[in-house]
């Protein structure tokens, strides 16, 4: 059972960077209308641009957050970049970001390749490194954006990069509780088949072919078994939250906000109903920003809760679930958190 507890570290601040360009949602099939698609997915519009990579958006978000926090860059000891759209296959984009951000060479940096669950995994990994006190300040960058090869914009997904600033406090009351899980038997429920070493790239891979759902896709495009992912999400997320609360013996119903990975509205509303949560407890960013992969939890806090939580103690449950299949739930509290204005490029 992957239950973890890390303390003595707090979230000092959050920021998010998105392309300025707003794209309205349209149906890409004659099987259902624009409105039907919007009603189910909840995505009215999202941010899309082919001009910025995930690291560009995350870089801008991080620069803004560091300025708002008044951090000295020389104090940052670690940087983790969570993405499935890295700048290059190698080197790790976190190395490029270390230099671009002007961080010192005595800084550990590595990438984590996860999507929907990625922010929770990145947080858990960094807290594990930090709670001993050796690393005092660290940055967690997470998001997904521009694709490996041009493709028609996906109607569900929006582009975003986020930054989460973590700092060592030494206080045991600054505490994070985690439940993490994996079910790799569902590895092909969301998959980009080409680009790794299992299927070596050929010229053919760039030629779009007809898929089972009647859409044309080339080999570098993500394929999703929507129904399987839906069934996974509505069963796994509520269970993970209940298991976490049961394991650590706390009352989850008293939490202020439940920030879920912004999968799609129907899936998230089903999860909300199963947990009997109020609308106020469950903020959404997907109506305006779409499903933003590992950026979805931080961007929801930045865009929906800025102005509401900075100056008071706020109890959060964050839950990411999806590609892998992989999931993670975290319970934590914020106080005096800095939330930057949304950065638009």
């Amino acid at each position: 059972m992957a239950f973890l507890k890390f303390d003595k570290v707090r979230i000092a601040g959050l920021s998010a960077g998105v392309p300025k360009n707003v794209m309205s949602t349209v149906s890409t099939t004659d099987k259902y209308s624009d409105d039907d698609f919007i009603k189910t997915t909840g995505v009215r519009q999202k941010r899309y641009s082919n001009d910025f990579t995930t690291s560009d958006l995350s870089f801008a978000a991080t620069e803004k957050l560091i300025a708002d926090l008044g951090w000295d860059k020389a104090e940052v000891d670690a940087l983790v970049f969570v993405t499935q759209t890295p700048d290059y296959i190698l080197p790790a984009t976190s190395c490029i970001l270390q230099d671009r951000l002007g961080l010192k060479r005595d800084c550990m940096a590595f990438d984590i390749s996860l999507g929907c669950s990625g922010w929770v995994y990145g947080l858990c990994s960094l807290l594990g490194l930090m709670s001993g006190g050796a690393i005092r300040k660290a940055l967690l960058l997470a998001g997904d954006a521009r694709k490996q090869a041009f493709e028609e914009p996906d109607q569900l997904f929006g582009f975003a990069g986020t930054a989460t600033a973590l700092e060592y406090t030494g206080k045991e009351s600054d505490c994070f509780l985690f439940n993490m899980g994996t079910d790799g038997s569902g590895y092909d429920a969301i998959i980009k088949q080409v680009g790794g070493t299992r299927n070596q790239v050929t010229a053919e891979d760039l030629i779009p072919k007809m898929c089972e759902d009647g859409r044309m896709r080339h080999g570098f495009q993500t394929r999703m078994k929507g129904m399987d992912v839906f069934a996974f999400g509505i069963t796994t997320a509520p269970k993970s939250i209940k298991k976490l609360a049961e394991h650590f013996g706390f009352d989850w119903t008293s939490y202020d906000y439940f920030v879920f990975h912004q999968a799609n509205f129907k899936m998230n509303e089903t999860i909300r109903a199963k947990l009997k949560l109020t609308e106020e407890q469950v903020p959404y960013s997907l109506h305006d920003f779409g499903n933003t992969s590992s950026a979805s939890i931080p961007i929801t806090i930045v865009t929906q809760l800025k102005g509401k939580i900075e100056n008071r103690k706020t109890k959060f449950i964050g839950c990411g679930f999806g590609v892998g299949l992989s999931w993670g739930t975290v319970a934590f509290e914020t106080d005096n958190i800095v939330i930057s204005d949304l950065v638009e490029l």
Binding site: G226, D228, M267, A273
Partner: protein, 77 residues
């Protein structure tokens, strides 16, 4: 345990524009004009809520009639 009749009624509730009387146990639901991958999500959510059973895409695809799907759900109980 819910009966086939109750399942058919719950199944029909997931459609907005299709008259419930059009949906019976032997209805080939993939042929219904309103049935899409989006409706399928409502049906999967209904089965999860009412039966606590997880139905996947392959279960939906391989069921021809509403009764076929009911039998798959019952087999997973």
């Amino acid at each position: 345990m819910k009966t086939l009749e109750e399942f058919v009624a719950l199944f029909a509730e997931q459609f907005d524009d299709t008259d419930p009387s059009e949906i019976k146990a032997d209805t080939v639901f993939h042929d219904l004009e309103e049935y899409t991958s989006l409706t399928a999500l409502s049906i999967i959510a209904m089965i999860d809520e009412e039966f606590d059973v997880t139905v996947k895409g392959d279960d939906m695809k391989s069921s021809v009639t509403v009764e076929d799907l009911y039998n798959k759900v019952i087999a997973k109980l």
